[in-house]
Amino acid sequence: MAEAINHDPRLAIEIAGIRFHNPVIGASGTFGYGLEFAELIDLNRLGGFATKGLSARPLSGNPPPRIVETHGGMLNAIGLQNIGARAFIKEKLPQLRGYDTQIIANVFGYSDDDYIEAISILNDGEGIVAYELNISCPNVKEGGIVIGNSPESAARLTEKARRASTRPLIVKLSPNVTDVTLVARAIADAGADCLSLINTIVGMSVDVNTRRPRLSYGTGGLSGPAIRPIAVRMVYEVARAVDVPLIGIGGIACASDALEFIIAGATAIQIGTANYYDPTVTMKVIDGLSAHCQSNGIEKLNSITKSILTE
């Protein structure tokens, strides 16, 4: 078992009955299967993490180049390369159970059935505390439709997943929509326990010498500090539209960034791209949140969720 750690009690939160040491969660696709960070940070101090998107069967992903850096961010078109839900249970979960952190299985499929199949497999995985449905990956449009971009298809899948799942259900919202509150409301009404947002924003970068896109897939998902203002705005909007707890994601690289999301309406936050260029960023954000509580006399960090002042 994990060694004893002095968690700051002011940071503890609960979402759908799951207790997190703190609201700092590693974002899916940027935290591998968690174990990659075992040498870099103390996983027992982390609120939790979301696995790389898991599908019923392993996926190979897109050909390279898969990533390109842009101003303040990066584009990726990984294409959901993953070892598959079964291999995750067999090869990763046993080791992960040795850590005192909350493991969220991020789930992906090309069709409703794919999702349900993946969830059914993962239901047998001991140590997973919740599912996060990735219905918003911009890099794998089969038939040109992203499920998460329409309230109807998103609600339909959420309902099915709700029935299939033995665990709390987080649904991850797409930012590539006209009105994020419409999709959010449909998903919340369909039974999601929590919404996480945002996934990446579809973008493109062109090599002006070869006149080709810099990613083999053509377009990719934009992440990093560049998108933070868009993400904060969406969390703010969704917090006014639904009653379920929110997990804020998008360009968080320090405690102050995390606080923007919390004040705008998030109960927890996920850190993605920043893990790449600052592998210990999650620990720094946890420390920074403690410091903020300290200097502002905050007894429970979650008391400032949605405390934003607007007239």
Binding site: S60, P63, P65, Y276
Partner: protein
């Protein structure tokens, strides 16, 4: 064991226009094998965000490490600005290493193209100190590039060295693959291992030549890297598997590489990267 730390810059000097040697003090013991790399970034620099991959060029003592790099774009430009005493964010050691078998009759052929030299200096040192019969082929764009890519350090090892420059300003005119091919044609490839690091097209050609002469060949690949420690899956290279591209088709250059057996690479699939 990976080390994630702020290292202190001891020097960051220009070897030739566009090429620099960065030496940093890790203030702790670091174990690095030839061919491994680090992810580096000037401390607290806001743009670009991502660290850059640089091969470990040399190790002095157990804590001091140097990197040889070409100033290309935003990341290496930012690194070029870093002054003595400043800090760099660093994660290392990363990736696998050049395997050196010390069997008496083994031969080593090292092929470096341009700044690919940075990845092989430690290997060459090890070879020079061993009983292995080693031969070095080094190609650069020009005399300036050869100087910037550490020609002096490579020469100092005393290994037999064949130098080419694209413009003929130093050594033989042309690509480094020409003398390599001659060398193998003369039968020098028997029982040898080729260690190659350089531009994609060079390594592809080296792989072809190695296949033609049936010589074992290892290549250290480059790929755009998001993290360097295996979590972004952005740095993959397509690998030959049975059948079409499938689950096993992609390997991470940062983790399963950067060194791969040349014959396992699907050179055509990855072409767009380069």
């Amino acid at each position: 064991m990976m080390i994630e730390t702020l290292a202190t810059v001891e020097s960051n000097r220009e070897l030739a226009p566009g090429y620099r040697l960065l030496t940093v003090d890790f203030k702790q013991d670091v174990q690095v094998s030839p061919g491994q790399f680090a992810m580096l970034k000037a401390h607290a620099s806001i743009e670009p965000l991502l660290r850059r991959a640089l091969a470990v060029y040399g190790v002095q003592g157990s804590r001091r490490i140097s990197f040889l790099y070409q100033v290309l774009g935003r990341g290496t430009e930012a690194l070029a600005q870093v002054e003595k005493e400043a800090s760099v964010e660093a994660l290392l050691p990363l990736g696998n290493n050049w395997p050196v078998e010390r069997a008496a009759n083994q031969r080593a052929i090292v092929v470096a193209g341009g700044i690919g030299s940075a990845s092989v200096l430690m290997l060459c040192k090890e070879l020079a100190a061993s009983s292995v019969d080693a031969q070095l082929f080094f190609g650069a764009a020009s005399k300036n590039a050869a100087t910037g890519c550490g020609l002096a350090d490579l020469s100092a090892l005393g290994l037999p060295l064949t130098l080419t420059t694209d413009d003929g300003s130093l050594g033989e005119r042309g690509f480094v693959t020409a003398p390599l091919e001659r060398h193998l044609r003369e039968g020098a490839g028997a029982g040898a291992t080729i260690y190659a690091c350089g531009p994609w097209v060079m390594m592809k050609r080296v792989a072809e030549i190695a296949a033609q002469f049936e010589v074992r060949c290892l290549v250290s690949l480059e790929a755009p890297m998001g993290c360097g420690f295996g979590v972004c899956v952005g740095c993959v290279v397509a690998i030959k598997t049975d059948g079409p591209l499938g689950y096993d088709s992609y390997k991470r250059v940062c983790t399963e590489g950067s060194i791969f057996p040349a014959e396992t690479i699907r050179w055509e699939v990855n072409a767009m990267t380069h």
